[in-house]
Subunit: 209 residues, 2 copies
DNA sequence: TGCGTTCATGAACGAGTGTTCATCATGGTG
DNA sequence: CACCATGATGAACACTCGTTCATGAACGCA
């Protein structure tokens, strides 16, 4: 890229636009092929700039990757509808919404984070980068507790177990497909219904010995 | 290592012992730190042999890794007790055994395979290398179907959903801890009981609208 | 117009990777 | 004892990685 084109990209604020352009490019590459094997030169080439331009705006590759991953998480969450409030609708429909939400989130995020799973504790190295889907997990657990307190679930309903099962389905659905090398596809609606029904029936404490 | 020591290692069968020694060493390294960042030179150094000795016994690094991963899977499975036969004991106890089995298996195998999750379809490149825990999954599904045919589960029990939930718990338990960078630890027994109870209660089709 | 600052450029560096190959010690065979 | 095939050796090769740096173009300002 010629300096003129770079300057045009940069715009009028002293280089903030190119920084943003690099983050956007890295985010796109992460969404397409994950962080594994993602190279500094590949980002620069995809952005149409020189190899070492990254170091004019970031301390190192890790800082750019952390910014791009954060942007990727925000983008994925922005495409999803709102989670239901406790006390509204039916618990069954709300569980289904949570499950659909979690499935879509994990489908979008797990491949991007797969390359970071390898080294233990690597996520901690990306300061401020939360576990993917962490907020969704917290909201699911909170939702179930709230419904129990509202009396829409049995007083001794096993909400922790129910939450663990729903979270597990999200990981299982995406991870097993990744292990097989396929692109994660949405679960069939009747399968989702079966899962929600099983969890909902099981969440109540046993009434028969 | 001197050629004399290598010859002593090799023994009397023309090099098969060193081949086995390399597989054993790679298996140990995989068990300790996974396949991610595992280098040809690191294996050779750990085995106490020269850098390029691998290529006297394997076509390339991938062939050695596939052998070592296969050995790792066999070792992990060998440390686990037998899975229950349909029609014996209680379904509850048997589900708990399956879940314990699956948890131990995923704890042992997922970290080793994490480095392979990144590139899509990479497992297919390791000819004959099955998805980790694949056999366990098949046996769990078969077990549930058999119990239903034996009449020890309701005729319309949602066995597929139950299997998916149990498999999901295994992935969730290991994967979420890996994302946090911790070493996967066993689930508390009361948590496992809660999960089994929830799945078992939920497996029966709903009796109340 | 001329100056100084900003910052993209792209070649280069050093480290690390998988892999190859000429060399040579070794043990078995005549 | 002399010879040969086996296979371990470790230096070297070609490549990629993240990162650095001297160079010079473009801009705002006087």
């Amino acid at each position: 890229m010629s300096p003129r084109k770079a300057a045009a990209l940069r715009g009028q604020d002293g280089g903030q636009d190119l920084r943003r352009h690099l983050i956007d490019t890295a985010e796109r590459l992460i969404a397409e092929q994950g962080t594994a094997g993602l190279t500094v030169r590949a980002i620069a080439r995809a952005a149409g700039v020189a190899d070492g331009v990254l170091y004019n705006h970031f301390a190192d590759k890790e800082e750019l990757l952390a910014q791009a991953l954060r942007a990727h998480v925000r983008t994925a969450e922005a495409t999803l509808g709102p989670l239901p409030e406790p006390g509204t609708g039916t618990v069954r429909d709300n569980l289904r919404i949570h499950l659909d939400h979690g499935l879509a989130l994990h489908r979008a995020l797990l491949p991007a984070f797969a390359g970071l799973l390898a080294q233990p504790g690597v996520l901690a190295g990306f300061a401020g980068l939360a576990e993917p889907g962490g907020e969704w997990r917290d909201r699911l657990t909170g939702y179930l507790r709230a419904e129990r307190e509202l009396g829409r679930l049995a007083p001794d309903a096993r909400v922790d177990a129910a939450a663990a099962l729903i979270i597990g389905i999200c990981h299982e659905s995406v991870l097993s497909l990744m292990l097989r090398g396929s692109t994660p596809a949405p679960l069939p609606p009747e399968t989702v219904d079966d899962l929600v029904t099983t969890v909902l029936d099981g969440i109540r404490p046993p009434t028969t010995a």
